[in-house]
Symmetry: C2
């Protein structure tokens, strides 16, 4: 196999879920049938890696200083949802009807990894809470040990600014069978049972 083809197959393996065999299939497919779209991908990828930064207001991915979402006039300014990463922001946008603002931590509190309040932009978050517009802060960090510790810290930040902190509900996933739900979730769901009246 030619040097450049070997390099291409190796480079494609940076994509998550792509092993040697899929990478080879992708390279051959583009070369044999889709060079134009391969060129287009190369160009967009290069531009995206270079130009996409973070919104100065919410820290979500954006190639403009302030992202579309932050500059939109049709989003509710009284609610702010805090997530760990852009992936989770996208998941919430796609799954729910949420119409408020966001703040992306780009991580979670993790002193061992050198991630403290400063790295997560919590000074900027505190500033926003201090502006007085926000009434509720939805804490949507992941239900991991570090995510929960981060949630705890964020709740204190909110209370200090007279903003009501809320947290996503935990429990048995819709359509999930009790048998297959992990024990921690099941115990939590049991303890947080709600009356049906």
């Amino acid at each position: 196999m030619s040097k450049l083809l070997t390099d291409l197959i190796e480079a494609l393996r940076c994509l998550p879920g792509v092993g040697g065999k899929s990478a080879q299939r992708m390279a051959f497919h583009l070369l044999e049938r889709d060079r134009e779209r391969g060129q287009r991908l190369a160009q967009v990828l290069e531009q995206a890696m270079r130009e996409i930064g973070n919104c100065s207001r919410c820290r979500n991915f954006s190639e403009t200083p302030v992202c579309n979402l932050c500059s939109s006039s049709s989003r509710d300014r009284q609610v702010l949802c805090v997530v760990e990463s852009p992936t989770e922001l996208a998941a919430i946008e796609q799954a729910t009807g949420y119409r408020g603002q966001y703040f992306v931590l780009l991580g979670r509190l993790s002193p061992l990894d050198g991630l403290g309040p400063e790295e997560l932009g919590l000074d900027r978050l505190a500033e926003r809470l201090g502006e007085g517009e926000i009434e509720e802060m939805i804490i949507a960090t992941n239900p991991t040990v570090e995510g929960e510790a981060t949630a705890h810290y964020l709740a204190q930040l909110a209370r200090a600014a007279n903003v009501r902190p809320t947290r996503l509900a935990h429990g048995v996933p819709l359509g999930g069978e009790l048998e297959y739900v992990d024990r921690g979730t099941l115990a939590h769901a049991f303890g947080s049972r709600q009356s049906l009246d």
Copy 2:
């Protein structure tokens, strides 16, 4: 989602087996964790799409006029294996101990698609057969209707040049259970049964 991010997700869908959801996961992964390798992929992909052409001797992918394989002095010059595409050449190289030459048709005879002897480079193939070095031509086209028709044509070409044409054996795949082998293959394997002496 930003324009550039949307464009990137859309562009990633040119990769075989990548739908909207995986494309989004890939884009976020590169942006959040692997920009350097994303940049590298963009650069290699651009170069590969632009520079990889076909070897003037065997028509396999190559960024040099004559490919490594054709210019190698350690490959047997008496045997030539004809395949439909570079993918199949790679499969044979990776699975077998074959040490001869190749010729890549970049298609199969298909008059309805405008693919005739000229498009498949059969004039060049006839020239090589005429050089007198080749003794055996292994016909490794796919066992489809068009592949078989192509094989038939190629066999005539070989015979006209006093080269012995051979064809890959068909039959029950190793480890394949008879119950699950398609009827055509089973009938062929039955008809071509070999004595065990």
